[in-house]
């Protein structure tokens, strides 16, 4: 029986500020990427989010980012490899504190925003992230981009010795080469819920229909979904139902990791 994981960014609130509908989304996903206080999140939010994930049996992951709360971690920063490594160690360690407080085991790490994009483009960034993860706990899964574009990031993770989880984006168009269509192009983001759910199912079955209609193979272990607004929550629910109705088991990446 086939299976897939649904991962979502969680715990992005900060102090008096709220982002995301974590309580609702946590009912539908299987892995939570929890912000660790650099680009979003704070100790109270981390505590609450780890507790909630633990209750809902959702796999707990760290979501480290650049030290840029003002830019929500979405801006490239020219950090050295060693800086990246140590920023990751600190953030993963911080979240480990809350895992230990709840007797939970951390499952994975996925870099956030510009740190993720830089890890896709740049092998020293990818290695910095992977080395940081390894230093804290070699059993942590490293979530990296599926498809051709993600090869560098995944190779760095694998070379470091980490188990690498391939993730894809059901709401994003793919080129015939298996890379994401840039957000600058029309049609890059797919908003029709049924279309997104159908693409999620394709991905769980190992392929995706590219923007030119070609069917291309895509090895995928986890699907990245969003939970920022009510429509997004409905979308996640719809994806999950579609997958399960088609006989795909939706389970945390840690239960089936490569």
């Amino acid at each position: 029986m086939k299976h897939i994981d649904l991962n979502c960014d969680m715990g992005e609130s900060f102090g008096a500020y709220t982002i995301g509908m974590d309580t609702e989304v946590m009912n539908h996903i299987t892995s939570a990427n929890i912000a660790c206080g650099f680009h979003a999140g704070d100790p109270l939010v981390m505590d609450k989010t780890v507790k909630l994930a633990q209750q809902k049996k959702v796999g707990i992951g760290a979501h480290p980012g650049y030290p840029d709360l003002l830019g929500f971690g979405r801006r490239h920063m020219a950090c050295l490899e060693t800086e990246i490594q140590q920023y990751v160690i600190y953030q993963v360690g911080g979240l480990q504190g809350f895992c230990r407080a709840y007797g939970a085991k951390m499952q994975h790490v996925k870099p956030h925003g510009a740190l993720y994009l830089d890890a896709v483009e740049n092998d020293t960034v990818a290695r910095g992230v992977a080395d940081g993860i390894l230093a804290v706990d070699p059993d942590l899964l490293f979530v990296a981009l599926a498809g051709k574009k993600g090869e560098t990031m995944r190779r760095m993770g694998a070379q470091t010795g980490l188990k690498v989880v391939y993730e894809a984006f059901p709401d994003r168009a793919y080129t015939p080469e298996g890379t994401l269509v840039s957000r600058k192009h029309p049609g890059a983001v797919i908003s029709d819920p049924d279309e997104v759910a159908r693409r999620a199912l394709d991905m769980a079955n190992g392929y995706v229909i590219a923007i030119d209609g070609t069917r291309i193979d895509l090895e995928v272990h986890s699907l990245c979904v969003h939970g920022d607004n009510p429509a997004a929550v409905d979308l996640v629910k719809n994806i999950r139902q579609t997958l399960e109705a088609s006989g795909i088991r939706v389970i945390p990446m840690g239960e089936t990791s490569p």
Copy 2:
């Protein structure tokens, strides 16, 4: 054979900014209280400081503070007990990341600055700190103020289930009641190196000469020393030599913890 620990605040540099002569001081102390990024310290500094402590066989401790880099954690902030607990979990967790990176075991936690002073004065603050420590690792030692004034802080630590280490300040005058003389009073801080070393020896022997000349009992497991400038480093060296010349073993608190 008697023994005592020498603890010192370490890793208080931040980015381009340097505070402390860590490399020199680390040769003379037995326990390092390492700042965790809230009031001082950053991931690179934490990494470097944990590594150095590990090399020098100095006991590694977390030194969590209020989230006030601008005030160096020296200003009281009206935080809730739960906020304090979670700030401690995050900071201790962050430092744990670096301990794990170097295969080191964290030995203790000592709150910093205003958080320490508030824990002395206020049982909810003390409990917040102790609960935070316990949540991450119940084997961590809780460093609290020796003497009458420290009773609340120590009781909260003990009630939580932590082992409590009593610390005293050889360069500070004590009242006949066994509390620190306020810094506002003349003679509160003792600067003569030989006097400080002699007081350190008294403390290792279980007593201190109060400001009025009375000899009072004081149970002490660790002496807090400073490493901000060359004179301070000489002072630490002098304290250690005086103790060892008098047959006191100077060893990390973790090797002899109560």
Copy 3:
């Protein structure tokens, strides 16, 4: 013809985080207290908010707070008078930059959250705030608490040489002594929109009905309203309509300042 000002906290968003319905509320108020980047707000938000206020002919004010984004400036911090003064200078100066960019004149300053509450309780805090305002521009109005409780804060402003604007809270119950009923007591916050609007009208007429039914005099120049959610916006609209329907002119404090 009588007149009153309606002031509201604005510009409290930060980076990717949104608080407040500024665009809607700005249609109904006459003075905006704009966060300056310490407890909330950032340069982009300040720019946008000053521009919006300028367009809507709403009086522009600085809303300085403690340097505590994590606590949204709601936590007391033990700052020295000189620190408070200089934090105010910096924040008011920062907002002045945007006023100058839009050719706008800053009208007033009102401290935020815990800084406001501390200024009410403590004359050194009040003096720090007032001295900071005076240093940047002696023509700025100082918004302080109306009623008996606000005497210290207002006296410090007046002694400094600033014009002081008295503000009251139509959605808060008052004691017969003319002080706010603590939020801990039932009935402290009034939520019925018509009741709040009626109280706003009473205040514009120079009195308030205390929680025990007594009518007490209250000199008020400005009413503090809120804009956090759709119900709050409706409340503001209702207050304004009630005031204007009763022949009270609702105009910026700067046009009628004492």
Copy 4:
């Protein structure tokens, strides 16, 4: 009679952290670039530094940087032009607050670290900085890199309508094309005090000897010097004495601005 300005970064301390020997250096320079709280500096430091510059009749300038205290503003951040503009408005405004507090007139703005380097390389960054300055005060001088490499930065300043001051680095080697030799190459930084002073004199006379021995023309209004350590302070003193002994007037850029 020829003249030149000596500018130096000042006010880079933060909270308990000290960088720079401001009190000493301020005796020898004619223009101070004062950090504004983003990459360095805080309100207390800004206050103290503006006051000191005012006392010593040193021209006061803002030294805005990227919002990266952890990286001391030395790391490139991918900010939008509008973000840069508004970060500059806020920081210049903040420093204006202290100028007003001391009745001082701000003279110039010079971007710091990576923001300066990005403005040299990238016209949208240079325009963002220049537009930010213009928005606050069109009389402020814009300090930009002299020589061929600085053409873009200077053109953006001039197009905006600002008066542009050309600065050169007497302790840095220049290529025959009039650009700075990269720090990665040997000989890029000149440390011999007499050599640096002689180069400062050449620059005041409108030329520099390039690394290959060629004499090239270089239009220069201000020389950038450093004040981080005792040797640097001696160097500044030496530069000033050499210039004055050769009949060059050393005066603030604002007194002679182009």
